[in-house]
Every structure is written in C-alpha cells, then in structure tokens.
Symmetry: C2
Subunit: 332 residues, 2 copies
C-alpha cells in the first residue's frame, strides 16, 4: 500500500489559519453543495449519556475534489473537570477514486473550528449589510473568538460586544479578541444589550433553551445562528425564523433535523416544507438575499460534511506544500 | 494531549489471528447487543457511483468496554484493475469516557475480515447441527477462505465444496483452503452441487441477484448468508427465509435495511414485524435455535458496529501487550 501521511494539530494550524483563503474554500464548498452532484449522507451521531459525551461523524463527496474526508467529532462535556478539552477529533482523508487512505489529520478539532468560523464569514458576506460595523457575539468560547475574527475578514468591523453565561469568561473573551484583532471589544451583562447595538450577531452557544426572541431583532440586523447542531439544541425562539425577512440555511434537510429550523418547525412557527434558500444558492447566483438596508436576515448553520471534505483537502494540500507531516506505511 | 498509538496491518495480523479467542470476542459482542444497553447508530453509507465505490462507517458503544471504535470501510470495486485491493479501511479507537483518540488501527480491512468470519463461526456454533461435517462455501474471495476456516473452529469439518462465479478463482480458493486447513476441499461447477452435499453453507458474495432458492435447501442444513450488507445486495431468493424452520439475524433493524430480510420483505415473502430472533439472544440464553436434527436454520449477517468496537478493543489490548505499535503525539 502507498504511504499515508500523518499531520499534527501544529502542522494543520500552520497550514490553515483562519483567513480569506479558508473562507473561499468553505464558500466553494457551499456553492458545490447547492449546485453540483455532491453526495452528503446524514450525520452519524452517537450519544454516550453515561459519560455526557457524543460523537458525530460527517462526510461528503464533492465532484471535482480528488479526496473525501470522514470527520469524527467527539464532544465530551465533563472533560474540562478532568483538565481535558471538551471537543476533539480527527479527519481521515481518502482518495475519492480508490478509497485508499491518503492522510490522517490529527487536528484535535482545529479544522472544524476553522471551517465553522469560515462559514460565519460566508454568511455575513452574503447577508449582512455591506456597511455593518458593530458585531455582537453570544457565547465566549473558541467559536466566539473565531466567529468575530471571521467577521473582520468580510466586513469593516469597528467594535464588538460579547455576552457569555459566565461574565468572567465573557470578559476574558473580549480581552483576547481586543488584543488579537485590535478592535474595541466589550463584555456586556445582557443579550438585550448585544441585540440593541449590533449590525451582525453571531450565536455560538450549545444552548438547549432559546436565548433570543423576535422582539429583540432590529431593522437591518443580520443574525448567524451557528450553535445548534443537534436535535436538542436551539438558540433562537421559534418566532425569530417566522419574523425575519430572509431565512437562509446551510443545508435544508440537515437544518430540519439539527438546526434552528427544527425547533421552529416543532413549535409550529414555520412550515418544514417551504423552499428555504441555502447559502450555496446565493453564492452560485452571486447575489445577496438581503432585500434592503432595513431587512432582517438570518443564517442557520449546522455544519456540513461538505465543509469537512473541502477544508481537509485544502489543509492536506497546504501542509504537503509546506513539507510537513510524517509518512507512515500501514504495511510495515 | 496524550500519545495515540498507530498500529499497522502487520501488528494487527500478529495480534489477532482468526482463532477461538476472536470468535469469543465477537460472541460477547453479540450477547451485549441483545442484552446490554448498547448504543449502535445506523450505518453511515456513502456511494460514489462515479468511481464504483462506497464507504460505510460503523460504530457502537458497549457498556463495560472502555473504548469505542469508528470503523471506516471503503469498497472500490474497480481497484483490482489498478492492481489495488477493493476493500480497505481503518478503525479509530476513542476513549468511551473522554472521546480522546487512543489508537489508529491501519488494518486495511483486516479486522473487518476477522470479525466477519468470527461471526460466521458464532452462527454455526449456535445453529448448525453438532455433527455437521461437510461445509459448502459460495464465493471464492477472502471471506470464502476465512469463513471456512472459522467453521473448522466450531465444528469437525471433514470436507468442503467451493463454488465461485469464476471457476479458476474457485479452484485457487479450494487449493488454498486445502493446504491451509488440511481438509479435502473441492471446487465445483454449480451451486446446486454445494447445496446438495453440505451440512453448513456460507454465502460470501456481493451478489445483487439471488443465488439460492428454497428448493435447494436440505433437511438439517444450516445456511449463513453473510454477503448482503447493502440495500442492493441479496444472495437468497425471497422464499428461503419463508421456508426455513428458524431464521436468526445479527441485528433486526439492520437486516431490514441491508440484509436478506430486506429483499424477502420487499418481495412480500415475509413480514417485517415478526419478532425475529437475534443471534445475541441465543447466546444470552445459551441455547441453540435449532429444534431438531432435520430443521433448516438460517443466519442473516450484515456486520454490526458492535463487532467493530469489540474487535478493535481486543486488537488494541493484544497489540499493546505485544509491545507493538508506534506512539504518536498530535501536539508535536
């Protein structure tokens, strides 16, 4: 068998920073999902209640991409008590032509972080007002930091507000972002404050209870809800989808199962069957779904296997170019 | 992050030969599936028609087993034209308590071969007549060889007949088995010949068309149908399940989707809802489902994630004991 290549988290962090190239990679993946004969099976999901853990496995085949990735994402939420990160995982890259293993990306979840943040940038690019300057971030973890950074890649963000359930964590997040991005970033005490002052709001929490309702929406605002990716999660009250001027999702079928759309449909607030626009369709048409500067837009992101295949192929190519990685032969 | 351990195909072949210990490992897995709070999500399956390939991903959590495996099985059926094996793959072993990656088993599909053959041994152990001496194998590939070997672990097999679509391949298979097992093994020209002379028949092909019908069954015979593991495969005519005295499956829900049960239900030959016995139930009761020496029994094996988790944990423990494997750290 030919050598496979092992890449470490460091190799991959060096190869794929969160930058415009990563955003373009994810944008191309969404376009393919909406326009090409992408094959994306439903997520394999296993919950191990005994350990407060779950593992999600995603994959997709994108015509024209020579490889496909199988991404395994374990999330074990008692890990921090043991001094371990909650979210880990790896990706395995296979040749799309032969099924042979080409690479193992031991990224500990890093590439998932990047492709999720890049999706937030893509959503803002195609839905937020071009003159959006004020960002609001709900949540104070890794994605809170990365989503704000991602927004700065596509809009001239001048200041940001951060809300977190734990005020100390929100302050730490704000301080980190201010230093990293050179912006004015402030931790605030209430979600209402974030909603009242932000042109773009990104929700990044694993909440199982709605955090935002329709009364808090402001004309011209764009919301990206990226926290919900499971049957029990939701960050938006059911009336939010029913109220916004334009709802866009990353993948209709998947959002019906795991996104904000699931909760809104379950509450009877919206129909499951409307022809909901997918973000890839906007990209293919090269047209925003924002009708006016006062329209309220919403993007529901659940995270798709096509993003994983795209970022894995991109990371592998970049890391190989850089000469990193360890060759390994399974025959030896 | 702690080191992970990489094991090659050779490490794993040395650690886990097809022997009674492997059979007991798979038997325990089936018992757990029928009696414990096993979590086994549906198979993630992706077909890439463009390359005549597919990939199946299986997993399961078994209470009491400290780890779970995610097994990726690509099958790319044009590979032999390129001088490559059709079936490949690997397993990733995660801690069940933390979700951290513990090991990557680069087995190129070897452990799947072993656990599938071991399942054949378990089926024969609990269903075939104790005095079964004559084996019949339909198919002439890797599983044909391994299934025959597996039968010799649980029954005093004296002679075997092999049928393959390609007579030369069947002759090669028969010669290999005769040499490996010290039995009289003969390649024959027709399936009817196999059916007419065998106490135990194992079907191991990827056929999409039935190979055996009910008129060919003989009193006292046991059939293990292990080839069908996908929506389009079937080796038995629909009347076979309807005719046998005892039908047993590895997993009811999975056999309804991917096993012989699927085709028989689709043809209207049997009901999907009967209380079909799973092999693990027999093991838990320590009782064969064979009523008499003339009863005809059938076991429908689709291959389950619980077998993968069990064999992966077993292989990892054995390979570590042997001091094999390469430590690797994803932080470096």
């Amino acid at each position: 068998m030919p050598d496979i290549r092992l890449f470490t988290e460091k190799d991959l962090r060096r190869a794929v920073p969160l930058d415009l190239a990563a955003v373009e990679c994810v944008e191309a993946a969404f376009r393919a999902l909406a326009t090409a004969a992408v094959i994306m099976p439903p997520i394999l999901s296993m919950r191990i209640a005994e350990y407060n853990g779950e593992v999600d496995v995603k994959t997709a085949y994108v015509p024209g991409v020579d490889s496909f990735a199988v991404k395994m994402s374990p999330g074990f939420f008692d890990n921090p008590k043991r001094g371990l990160p909650s979210v880990n995982g790896l990706m395995v890259v296979f040749s799309a032509a032969t099924g042979l293993v080409e690479a193992v990306l031991l990224d500990n979840g890093y590439l998932t972080d990047v492709r999720s943040a890049a999706a937030g940038a893509v959503a803002a690019k195609w839905l937020a007002r071009p003159d959006a300057k004020r960002a609001g971030i709900i949540g104070s973890g890794t994605q809170a930091r990365l989503q704000l950074k991602a927004l700065t890649l596509v809009r001239d963000i001048e200041r940001a507000l951060v809300w977190g359930r734990d005020p100390a964590s929100a302050r730490a997040c704000a301080a980190d972002c201010a230093e990293d991005l050179g912006l004015e970033v402030t931790a605030v005490d209430s979600i209402a404050e974030v909603m009242g002052a932000s042109d773009i709001v990104v929700t990044t929490t694993p909440s199982a209870q709605p955090l935002i309702d329709a009364s808090q929406l402001r004309p011209g605002q764009h919301i990206t809800a990226m926290g919900s990716d499971a049957e029990y999660k939701t960050e938006l009250a059911p009336d939010v989808i029913a109220t916004v001027d334009q709802y866009v999702c990353d993948h209709h079928a998947q959002c019906l199962k795991q996104g904000e759309l699931r909760a809104a449909v379950a509450a009877g607030a919206v129909s499951p069957d409307l022809d909901y626009v997918e973000i890839g369709t906007l990209i293919a048409r090269q047209r925003s779904a924002r009708g006016s500067s006062t329209a309220i837009t919403l993007c529901d992101l659940t995270g798709t296997g096509v993003q994983d295949t795209a970022i894995a192929a991109f990371a592998t190519a970049r890391a190989l170019e850089a000469g990193s990685g360890t060759p390994f032969n399974s025959d030896r």
